[in-house]
């Protein structure tokens, strides 16, 4: 655990250093940018497809905006970009005060057309106030449009977007993968009862046993069995999402665990499980700590903040680590387009490979840390006595 913290810190520092380095380029892109068209010889790195798309979007204004490209990738989207100009439209589900709206995001034609639904007319627009940033489509918000073509902010505020976005779809894919893999493994256990594990079963069993023996048992104690389903699910959910996020081509590439909403829910689960299972000594530690009575004024708020800050740290740690990894990889790829030179490509690709390998480690590490800290907090809540 100590080691992982050290490594966590190092990775963060590395990420910060890289981000600073790359920020230099994003601040002065116009100085370095030339008006040549962007090279097409970068197809060997699939992430470049995203970048190229963004570059083309930027090309209309004569320069390449890496921030837009990167943020577009990091953020969620109503379509799932596959390659070039081909992308899957995803279902849009809107809650409006008049009722639900279901339609395909394909109706927006990449933000160029409004869609007239049952209750309102909708338009995909850039979420930022500055409409002039670019025409990139991916992180646009659905807004209500009045009949005369103006955006109706009041009506927009009243609708809620429950669309199956790129991240939701990627998450469903993870859910399906996990269900298929683990039900297969479970049936292998049933079939080969009492025998040694084989194939996928023998690949996953050490990880399951690792979660049990090195995460759950030492942190929770004898009552670890109750929490194993949550710990295992959260571990494999984060791990598979992290790994799929690293895959630059179609079914992967979504930044699911790098989205604050996902990590928020995962941390919320930890928060709920910890506090639902908190025993007498856990609550008395919060509301009747072993200090003089007059200190309660300070201690109780501190303890209550402590209860909330632990899952908050879980949420931010996972989100920041994964997002930072994606930003670095995309920034390195963007270098090629910023310099508008193929000569920089080998350097970029070398750095990207290095970062990808590092991210592979981080994918495991963050799944491990999230599970470990969840187990630790659960252990603190169910501990018998101090």
């Amino acid at each position: 655990m100590d080691c992982s913290h050290v490594f966590d810190f190092k990775v963060n520092r590395l990420i910060a250093a890289f981000t600073l380095f790359l920020a230099l380029f994003t601040v002065v892109p116009s100085v370095l940018a030339q008006t040549d068209s962007v090279g097409a010889g970068v197809a060997h790195e699939a992430v470049a497809a995203d970048a190229a798309h963004g570059a083309e979007a930027g090309h209309a204004e004569g320069n390449f905006d890496p921030t837009a490209v990167i943020m577009e990738h990091i953020a969620d989207s109503h379509v799932w970009h596959v390659a070039g100009h081909f992308s899957f439209p995803l279902p849009v589900i809107l809650y409006t005060p008049q009722g639900f709206e279901f339609f395909s995001s394909g109706h927006f034609h990449h933000g160029e057309a409004d869609y007239k639904g049952a209750h309102n007319t909708y338009r995909l627009v850039e979420s930022t106030k500055d409409q002039s940033v670019g025409q990139n489509f991916f992180n646009k918000k659905i807004k209500v449009v009045t009949p005369d073509g103006q955006i109706d902010e009041a009506a927009t505020a009243s609708i809620m977007d429950f669309s199956i976005t790129k991240n939701v779809a990627a998450m469903f894919l993870t859910v399906v993968i996990l269900l298929l893999v683990f039900s297969a493994v479970a049936s292998a256990y049933k079939k080969r009862q009492g025998k040694s594990p084989k194939g996928l079963q023998s690949f996953l069993e050490p990880i399951i046993v690792f979660v049990r023996d090195d995460i759950a048992k030492p942190n929770i104690g004898h009552d670890y069995g109750r929490f194993m389903p949550f710990l295992l699910t959260v571990f494999f959910f984060i791990l598979i999402n992290n790994l799929l996020g690293l895959v630059p081509i179609f079914p992967g590439g979504a930044n699911v665990t790098g989205n604050i909403a996902t990590t928020f829910i995962l941390a919320l689960f930890t928060l709920v499980i910890v506090n639902v299972n908190g025993n007498k000594s856990y609550w008395s530690h919060i509301f009747a700590p072993d200090v003089p009575k007059w200190m309660y004024v300070i201690m109780i708020p501190v303890e209550v903040i402590g209860v909330l800050s632990r899952p908050f740290a879980l949420m931010v740690r996972l989100f920041a680590n994964i997002t930072a990894g994606h930003i670095i990889v995309l920034s390195l790829i963007s270098l090629i387009f910023i310099f508008k030179s193929l000569a920089i490509a080998p350097v970029s690709v070398a750095f990207v490979i290095f970062m990808d390998v590092l991210e592979l480690l981080v994918a495991f590490l963050q799944a491990f840390i999230f599970t470990l800290l969840s187990a630790l907090f659960i252990g603190m809540a169910v501990e018998e006595h101090h």
Partner: protein, 164 residues
């Protein structure tokens, strides 16, 4: 700022998806997998324990065998010793008995011989006395055929008496 603002849609779907995944995996996967791993571990532990016990039992049996062997050897020695003592005893007794028997027979023989000797001597004496008497009778008869000679004898006898 948009980056750190969770969108309601993703929050909702993550909640649904994760809850669904958690419940389904708990039922479909984690329970059977953890159960199977636990059972197998217990089985292995049990098997190892049993092997350990068997080893101990084996060692115990070996030790017991050795003990038995030693005991048997000691018993054999004792028996042999006893047998030897018995044999010696019997031999000695037999010897002593034989000796005694021999002695007794010798004694008997001696007594017999002595008796026979006595008897022979007695018979010889009797014969000798008979013979002597016969001789004396014949001599007397011969001598007593005439008066003179009788007289002489009586005189001779009387002379002997006188001397006394």
């Amino acid at each position: 700022m948009e980056l750190v603002t969770p969108s309601i849609g993703l929050v909702f779907w993550t909640l649904i998806a994760f809850l669904f995944l958690l419940l389904l995996l708990r039922k479909l996967a984690w329970k059977p997998i953890m159960g199977a791993i636990h059972d197998r571990e217990q089985y292995i532990d049990e098997a190892l324990n049993k092997a350990e016990l068997a080893k101990k039992e084996m060692a115990r049996l070996t030790a017991q065998n050795e003990d038995l062997m030693l005991q048997a050897r000691a018993e054999r020695d004792v028996i042999l010793k006893e047998a030897k003592a018995l044999k010696d005893g019997i031999l000695n007794e037999a010897k002593a008995q034989a000796q005694a028997e021999g002695d007794k027979m010798l004694e008997k023989a001696k007594i017999e011989i002595a008796n026979q000797k006595k008897a022979a001597l007695a018979e010889m004496k009797a014969q000798v006395s008979t013979l002597s008497i016969e001789i004396a009778e014949r001599v007397l008869r011969g001598q007593l055929q005439d008066k003179a000679k009788q007289q002489e004898l009586v005189a001779g006898l009387l002379k002997d008496v006188e001397l006394n």
